[in-house]
């Protein structure tokens, strides 16, 4: 007879077009039939008689099916399913990209570069420091993570790290950084110097990840007796200043 209950419920719900709703309504009807059967059995009927009476009390499965079809709204069910699938399909890659971005952000924040970007011929770095000076403007954060010089070559190397959002890369800003040192020497920006042979910052390259850019500079003919070097960015009213103290570093060329 359970089998009859099941058949009756399936017939009564066959016109519900949205399948998940059909299953739910079918289960509710089954529960109702079983409750009614149990009540009748408590009143003294046999199981078969109680099931028969419960089915008769529900009426025609065909009529129930027609009534349910009339009140059911499948469009919301289909919309719900589609939006749910789309949301999950979009959320997974979004979460993945966010995790990757945060991971690379943290990785770059804590990693020690140790001048691994300096070409082999400049390995005679005999003064090294990690200034960790920073400044920010326009939602962009600039930090000097490494600095050092080679007395043999009179060259100064430094790395500026910038963290910014959204995920866009641009190098033009670094062409506008200029510098002065404690001896009053002026080092022109890449943009200002152009091809002229004047003391200047020179780009050595860059690396990037999701939200971090590392920009590498070298200053030729650097005065190694300077106590500090100050980097400036001052275009269109901005004022980014990064002062590198050259008195507290390591003279052995290691971090």
């Amino acid at each position: 007879m359970e089998h009859n209950f099941s058949l009756w419920c399936q017939k009564a719900t066959e016109k519900i077009r949205y399948r998940p709703d059909r299953r739910v309504v079918c289960q509710e009807l089954m529960d109702h039939l079983e409750d009614h059967r149990d009540t009748l059995m408590e009143q003294g009927l046999t199981r078969e008689e109680a099931e028969q009476k419960a089915l008769e009390a529900m009426g025609s499965a065909q009529e129930i099916a027609d009534q349910l079809a009339a009140i059911h709204r499948p469009w919301l069910g289909y919309l719900f399913s589609m939006v749910r699938v789309a949301a999950i399909a979009a959320a997974l890659p979004a979460i993945f990209f966010c995790v990757v971005s945060v991971w690379t952000l943290l990785f770059n924040l804590i990693s020690a570069n140790q001048f691994d970007w300096v070409p082999d011929r400049f390995t005679s770095v005999d003064y090294y420091c990690r200034p960790n000076v920073s400044d920010s403007s326009d939602g962009r954060f600039y930090q000097v993570t490494e600095a050092g010089y080679s007395t043999k070559h009179s060259e100064f190397y430094l790395e500026i790290r910038t963290i910014y959002w959204p995920h866009l890369r641009h190098w033009g800003i670094f062409d506008e950084f200029w510098a002065v040192d404690s001896k009053g020497n002026y080092y022109a920006s890449i943009h200002e110097a152009g091809y002229e042979k004047i003391p200047r910052l020179e780009a050595m390259g860059w690396s990037t990840s999701a939200c971090i850019a590392h920009y590498h500079f070298v200053i030729h003919d650097f005065d190694c007796d300077a106590q500090w070097l100050e980097l400036h960015y001052d275009r269109d009213g901005r004022d980014v200043v990064l002062r590198i103290d050259l008195t507290g570093g390591n003279e052995h060329g290691t971090p």
Binding site: F80, R84, A90, A94
Partner: protein, 214 residues
């Protein structure tokens, strides 16, 4: 009740979908939806502005279709882009100088038509003037040449001088570019180029004169 619960859930999922799509768009370096968005993005990348947009010119250079002119607190911005991909546009910045500021583009306008091609030179003044005259002096191998250009004030408030390039020597072109924008060109051997900007009021009276030298 079930209907309302489903409706609420649908809206929540829709919100999740919208936020995820936007996040993916930006995390992947999403393309600008229009030229102004590309311009504002370039401003942020270059740490310039935000500029007030003065004008947009149709710019028939072989690389770019349009030129946007903006004014920020300390300078002027020039954004050149083509319709296919505004994100490939180039932003240039010219700091304001006291009294008057000049700017010229790197490439000539209407360059496809040699007879019509000209180098646009923009002039901005702190004081109102109805008309302006720009005298350019270039030197090559000791030979000085003068070019005199005139322009009326545009509705946006700047002067646009059209320096016809079909009569120029290449060195003149580069000397003036170097003078005005400071862009070094290693073909420039002589840095004695000069520019003189004269401003006139609506009656034709000379009101201001500015000299520009290297």
């Amino acid at each position: 009740m079930e209907h309302r619960k489903r409706l609420r859930k649908t809206l929540v999922y829709f919100l999740v979908l919208a936020v995820s799509v936007i996040a993916i768009y930006f995390l992947c370096g999403g393309k600008s939806l229009n030229a102004e968005m590309a311009f504002r993005r370039q401003e942020k990348l270059n740490m310039i502005g935000p500029a007030h947009i003065m004008d947009v010119l149709d710019y028939e250079e072989d690389r770019y279709d349009h030129l946007l002119i903006g004014q920020s607190q300390y300078g002027y911005t020039f954004f050149e882009w083509n319709d296919q991909n505004p994100d490939d546009g180039v932003l240039n910045y010219q700091p304001k100088q006291e009294g008057a500021t000049l700017y010229c583009t790197k490439y000539s306008y209407n360059a496809m038509d040699y007879q019509q091609a000209y180098l646009p030179i923009f002039a901005f003044s702190d004081h109102y003037a109805a008309r302006a005259k720009l005298t350019l002096t270039t030197n090559m191998d000791g030979e000085a040449i003068q070019y005199v250009l005139e322009a009326q004030r545009s509705e946006a408030g700047y002067f646009l001088f059209r320096w016809k390039t079909d009569v120029l020597r290449s060195a003149d072109f580069w000397q003036i570019q170097q003078l005005i924008t400071g862009e070094y060109n290693n073909y420039v051997l002589d840095s004695s180029a000069q520019a003189m900007l004269e401003l006139f009021d609506s009656k034709g009276e000379l009101t201001e004169t500015y000299h520009f030298t290297k």
